[in-house]
């Protein structure tokens, strides 16, 4: 870097001009008028609200034609947004939040997406984006009213029956991965979610491993490193492991990379992880992990 410029920046950082205190509130208000902050929601839905805000900001950086580019799995950017709208709509309906899309007979996320893609065809991408954003906002507003306690309620939506908190974590995960897909095709790197948001997503996929790699009586330790990581002892069948039980196999890997593996964005064969214990079992789990996520 040019030393004069570097010195100039440092001098201004150290002793530039002190802005008048009331300007701070003006600047923040002007910023929020142009892009709202993530929706205020109960804690369990905060990762979802943040991912909605991130995707909306990314979509705002795209031109009209960019929405027609194929992002992933043969779906264009606009169709991916329809997919998120469809899946968020299924959850909204299940919890009694207002749904932006017309009612439908199907509970399947992909079938619902296909229906909605047909309905959205020919519409300007900006309208699809608004509809998706309105659906997300309506869901967040509903959760805000339901409060923190609703997290433990069991809800069936999109073919999954689990706690509402887990549904929201799953919606956050999917919204993040598709935001990353869109960023990738646009050449705009999408930063990882903050560690406090990444952690519950990693926990949810860790707990889900028994669904794709059931091994009765076996216990896997998943040690996910990096900000937002943690250690999860995952029984590969129903039920909690007896306390103090030594895991049969251990997988140590980066938390974000593991999330990308589970979402089918990494090849299990070349996936970087340190395996110990029953490495055969660990490799089977890694190979099965991508099956955990749909499109």
């Amino acid at each position: 870097m040019n030393p004069d410029w570097d010195l100039y920046l440092d001098a201004m950082t150290e002793g530039g001009e002190m802005p008048r205190p009331r300007r701070r509130a003006d600047v923040l208000a002007a910023a929020l008028a142009r892009r709202p902050a993530a929706a205020r929601v109960p804690r369990y839905a905060a990762p979802y609200a943040a991912r909605v805000s991130a995707l909306d900001a990314l979509l705002g950086a795209l031109g009209e034609d960019d929405h027609r580019r194929v992002a992933v799995e043969g779906w264009t950017v606009q169709e991916l947004v329809v997919h998120l709208l469809a899946t968020d709509g299924l959850l909204a309906r299940a919890v009694g939040a207002p749904a932006a899309d017309p009612p439908s007979g199907t509970e399947d996320a992909v079938a619902r997406t296909v229906e909605l893609i047909r309905a959205e065809r020919g519409r300007p991408p900006g309208e699809t984006r608004s509809r998706w954003r309105e659906q997300a906002r309506a869901l967040c507003a509903h959760l805000c009213e339901a409060g923190e306690e609703a997290a433990g309620r069991r809800v069936s939506a999109g073919g999954l029956r689990m706690r509402l908190g887990d549904h929201l974590t799953q919606r956050a995960f999917e919204t993040w991965i598709h935001t990353d897909d869109i960023g990738r095709v646009m050449g705009l790197p999408v930063p990882l979610p903050v560690p406090e948001h990444l952690n519950p997503m990693a926990g949810l996929v860790a707990r889900g491993l028994r669904l794709v790699a059931p091994r009765p009586g076996r216990l896997l330790r998943l040690e996910l490193t990096g900000p937002g990581g943690g250690v999860w002892d995952v029984p590969l069948s129903r039920g909690a492991p007896p306390p103090g039980r030594v895991p049969d196999a251990v997988i140590v890997t980066d938390v974000a990379e593991f999330c990308f593996l589970v979402s089918g964005r990494r090849d299990p064969a070349s996936f970087e992880a340190v395996l110990s214990g029953d490495t055969e079992l660990a490799r089977e789990v890694l190979a099965a992990a991508p099956a955990l996520s749909g499109p």
Binding site: M1, N2, P3, D4, W5, D6, L7, Y8, L9, D10, A11, M12, T13, E14, G15, G16, E17, M18, P19, R20, R23, R24, D26, V27, L28, A30, A31, L32, R34, R35, P36, A37, A38, A49, A50, R51, V52, S53, A54, D56, A57, L58, G60, A61, G183, L188, P189, V190, P191, L192, P193, V194, H197
Partner: protein, 186 residues
């Protein structure tokens, strides 16, 4: 100089929060860099109100389009500084055009255009003049840190100073330079 305040990890974390729509991250960015952005904009525009508008536009722009900044490609400080500088130069040019138009209406005299390079050279000259005008002890540490690219630790070693003294002399030198740059150019 790579001073410890330019923390790449901090920038990355702030950027994650900005992208996720966390308005408290914008408030932190503002508190860290408003003096830099306003100082730069004032230095270029020589107009307090215009500089405040430029500063506002810079922070709003980061919030509205957080993907325009990529922490892998540079620090937030450089990105904000560059954007503030560019917007301030745009303002000066628009102002020059406006003056030129009213000058044409008033008489034959044309205002000179402001070119980016001229302005940049002018600013670099003012920075160097400010360094030259520093008292010897401060000038020495600034020259080592910026024109010889030493870290403050190396500066301390070279001059046989305690690290804390080297660091505080660099900061004092930076503040003096900022004060000199804030004065009207002669």
């Amino acid at each position: 100089m790579r001073a410890p305040v330019h923390d790449a990890e901090r920038d990355r974390s702030l950027h994650r929060r900005l992208v996720g729509g966390d308005e408290t991250a914008l408030a932190e960015v503002y508190d860290l860099f408003s003096s830099l952005v306003l100082g730069l904009a004032s230095g270029v525009t020589r107009d307090r109100a215009a500089a405040e508008d430029v500063a506002q536009e810079v922070f709003v722009s980061l919030w509205e389009r957080p993907f325009a900044y990529d922490p892998d490609r540079g620090t937030l400080r450089t990105w904000l500084g560059t954007l503030a500088h560019r917007r301030a130069v745009d303002w000066v040019r628009a102002e020059e055009r406006r003056r030129a138009r009213s000058a044409r209406r008033a008489g034959p005299e044309e205002a000179p255009g402001v070119e980016d390079e001229v302005l940049a050279a002018d600013e670099a000259g003012r920075v160097r003049n400010a360094v030259a005008a520093l008292p010897g002890g401060l000038r020495e540490v600034i020259e080592l840190a910026y024109y010889r690219g030493l870290t403050y630790r190396q500066v301390a070693r070279d001059l046989g100073l305690p690290e804390g003294t080297a660091k505080s002399r660099i900061r004092l030198g930076l503040r003096r330079i900022a004060a000199m740059l804030a004065e009207e150019p002669t």
